[in-house]
């Protein structure tokens, strides 16, 4: 028997469809025009484009005066999110396993602490972090921001990984332990492969959140040498002298493409986290 596609078929669907389309219109409009405006010419007060051009993408091959080079900035962004992701993955896949399976002192306390931190207004800590980084001299360096960003993402990571470890049947570990492997070996070669979906989900989430992070780099590493794409684009927006929206949009689309690709490929993993995890 073919499963019914929807819980109920005896209602007309077009009123709902229309309503939903109308409320979604601002979003559709914004994203369609985001793409359209980067490749077309449009007179200032027209709504529809009048011709094609690649001129808005000129930032790719020429550097705007007073701004950092786009490729340098992209590299920084990549470095920032890749380092944050690896740090979060390594640290939280270890800590999650400990909290799920091993008996350490103050385990309950640690779990409760992670839970409280996870629901914490972390971004308010930025003031103290700013002062501390200035004191110890890591201000305006990528290392400082990477460490801070990773620490802020950690509670979510630990909590998520613990959840995934909890679903792994413990017979697997028992078998390993009985065969004489050490607990570390058991974790490394038997348990870790079992939680691949969790690692994928956390890795993606962490990468995307690092890629889009704005306020931490803005406050802790604003210098041209260590600038990331979000700060670069915000600099464009704050520049009151020219509102070249089409060029902003080209930079924005350039910045958004990796996110869209990652989302299109892996959205089923990401749903795990967006359903119950992130803030906003």
């Amino acid at each position: 028997m073919v499963e019914r596609a929807q819980p109920s078929a005896n209602y007309r669907s077009w009123p709902v469809l229309t309503a939903l389309t109308i409320v979604s219109l601002p979003l559709l409009l914004m994203y369609v025009y985001l793409f359209l405006d980067t490749v077309t010419v449009k007179p200032p007060d027209a709504l529809l484009p009048s011709g094609l051009t690649l001129n808005h993408w000129r930032f790719l091959w020429q550097t705007t005066a007073g701004k950092a080079n786009i490729w340098h900035v992209t590299l920084n962004t990549l470095l920032f999110s890749a380092c944050t992701t690896s740090l979060v993955l390594i640290v939280s896949s270890m800590a999650g396993y400990v909290l799920s399976r091993l008996n350490v002192p103050a385990r309950g306390f640690f779990l409760a602490g992670v839970m409280v931190l996870h629901a914490f207004p972390s971004v308010t800590l930025i003031i103290a972090i700013f002062i501390v980084l200035q004191m110890i001299g890591l201000y305006n360096s990528l290392i400082g921001v990477i460490l801070v960003k990773a620490a802020i993402d950690l509670p979510l990571g630990i909590w998520l990984m613990k959840g995934f470890y909890d679903t792994v049947p413990w017979e697997i570990e028992m078998a390993g332990v009985v065969d004489g492997a050490s607990r570390f070996r058991v974790w490394r070669s038997l348990v870790l492969p079992q939680v691949k979906p969790g690692i994928m989900a956390l890795g993606l989430f962490s990468f995307l959140s690092g890629w889009g992070e704005f306020i931490l780099p803005q406050v802790l590493a604003p210098g041209n040498q260590v600038q990331v794409l979000s700060v670069y684009l915000a600099g464009f927006l704050a520049d009151d002298n020219n509102y070249d929206f089409n060029m902003f949009k080209a930079v924005g689309l350039f910045y958004l493409i990796p996110v869209l690709i990652a989302y299109a490929l892996f959205n089923k993993y990401l749903m795990n986290i967006y359903g119950g995890g992130s803030k906003g």
Partner: protein, 433 residues
């Protein structure tokens, strides 16, 4: 066997270290900084003692005479001054006589010292008297002292007769570094600006939470629930876009929509309205857009949570109700909503915290404007401490404001742990050893 415990400690160590260093320590330091008057003017390390014009103004209210005396230069016949006089190339007898008869004397005014110099046996000319007296000008104004002792010994050397209490007052008012204080909290409690910001915050959280994070999310979930899967996933995909889009691009798109050269202006131009900045035009418009911008992001999480909760409702309940002739509204009212109680409570709790702490979108969209209309607590803390257009970044006050959010966050999340039954989350590990 001890191996599992040791391994556990080793494996959890990196997480513990990172969380303590970059998460807990900043919380503690926020509390510490909130008890100081640290600003860019005081610096973040210790300061010096400097009798500057503005510290004299403060001092004037406490001890007017001494403040007035300090404002005037004093004349001390000291060795450095005598050396300088010798270097002037005047008659050598002048310096010699000054050293012999007047070394160590202090004159309160220029007239006193010049009278003394005129009375010297050598009788310098008026021009020379001025030159000589200048060498002994020992104003305390604008000199820097690295420690209290240096300040006091200098004051003593200039003949200021101060009691120990008065000295302490002088030291306190002339210190340029930060000091311990609880002023930040009394300022927060009494300032009308803060009351305004608090009101904004409550309004912002309540509006976004009710209209979008819960209300509209529920609507979206119900709408897509009744759709064929492909169509439903298209709409869910559209509404997830704001969440995955980096915040800078997302806000840029709204600005394109609402600015004076943006979409709405052009569209309204067709109907004869002059272009204007709809985002910052009036306080009402700014609020409208701030709520929309944040709401569109917030709606997605509620939508996902509610959708998966609705999927978990047994289909048979819907079929049975249809056989009984229930309308769609009755299905929603009597089947879906009663079973949504926990998801709604969860989303409400969770999003309250998120909204309290979020300010990226407002910062980028309106930056708290027009005026102070859309300034919320977290943004105000950020402005006070890190991006103050008055120039003086008030780290201490900003930290105190952040601390308020931290306290609210901790209290609320402890409450949630209670409500959502923490006990089941920390069940004992499966393999003990």
């Amino acid at each position: 066997m001890k191996s599992s415990r040791t391994l556990g400690l080793v494996m959890i160590a990196p997480a513990a270290v990172m969380i303590v260093l970059f998460f807990l320590m900043p919380v503690v330091l926020t509390a510490v900084f909130s008890m100081t008057n640290m600003t860019t003017a005081t610096g973040i390390s210790g300061g010096v003692y400097q009798i500057a014009p503005n510290s004299l103004i403060t001092l004037k209210s406490a001890m007017p005479e001494i403040a007035a005396e300090m404002a005037e230069p004093r004349y001390t016949i000291d060795e450095a001054g005598l050396k300088a006089v010798e270097g002037l190339g005047l008659a050598p007898a002048i310096a010699a006589e000054l050293r012999a008869k007047h070394a160590g004397e202090v004159f309160a005014t220029r007239r006193d010292v010049e009278r003394m110099i005129k009375d010297l046996t050598e009788r310098p000319s008026t021009r020379e008297v001025k030159q000589i007296s200048e060498q002994f000008n020992r104003s305390v104004l604008n000199t820097r002292f690295d420690s209290k002792e240096q300040l006091f010994s200098s004051l003593d050397g200039l003949g200021f007769k101060l009691t120990p209490e008065q000295k302490e007052t002088v030291a306190k008012t002339t210190y340029t570094g930060w000091t311990w204080t609880t002023d930040n909290f009394s300022r927060m409690a009494s300032s009308p600006d803060m009351a305004r910001v608090l009101f904004n915050t409550v309004l912002y959280v309540a509006l976004v939470l009710m209209l979008f994070n819960v209300g509209y999310a529920l609507l979206l979930a119900i709408w897509t629930h009744y759709m064929p899967p492909t169509r439903a996933s298209i709409f869910r995909g559209i509404w997830l876009l704001p969440r995955i889009t980096p915040v800078v691009i997302y806000v840029m798109l709204w600005k394109w929509l609402a600015w004076d050269s943006g979409f709405i202006s052009i569209l309204m131009g067709r109907f004869g309205y002059p272009p204007k900045n709809y985002l910052l035009d009036t306080a009402y418009n700014a609020w409208f857009f701030v709520v929309l911008i944040n709401g569109f992001i917030g709606a997605s999480m509620g939508m996902l949570v509610f959708s998966s909760a609705m999927k978990a409702i047994p289909k048979s309940q819907f079929y049975a109700s249809e056989v009984d002739g229930a309308s769609r509204w009755q299905q929603i009212r009597y089947i879906i909503l009663p079973q949504m109680r926990w998801p709604i409570l969860f989303v409400t709790c969770y999003q309250t915290l998120s909204l309290l702490a979020s300010f990226n979108e407002i910062l980028l969209a309106t930056n708290g404007g027009p005026g102070n209309a859309t300034e919320v607590w977290a943004l105000s803390a950020y402005h006070t401490a890190l991006r103050n257009y008055a120039g003086n970044l008030e780290y201490g006050l900003g930290a105190a404001m952040a601390l308020v959010l931290v306290v609210i966050g901790v209290v609320l999340s402890l409450l949630y742990l209670r409500v959502f039954n923490y006990g089941t989350l920390v069940a004992k590990p499966l393999i003990e050893d």
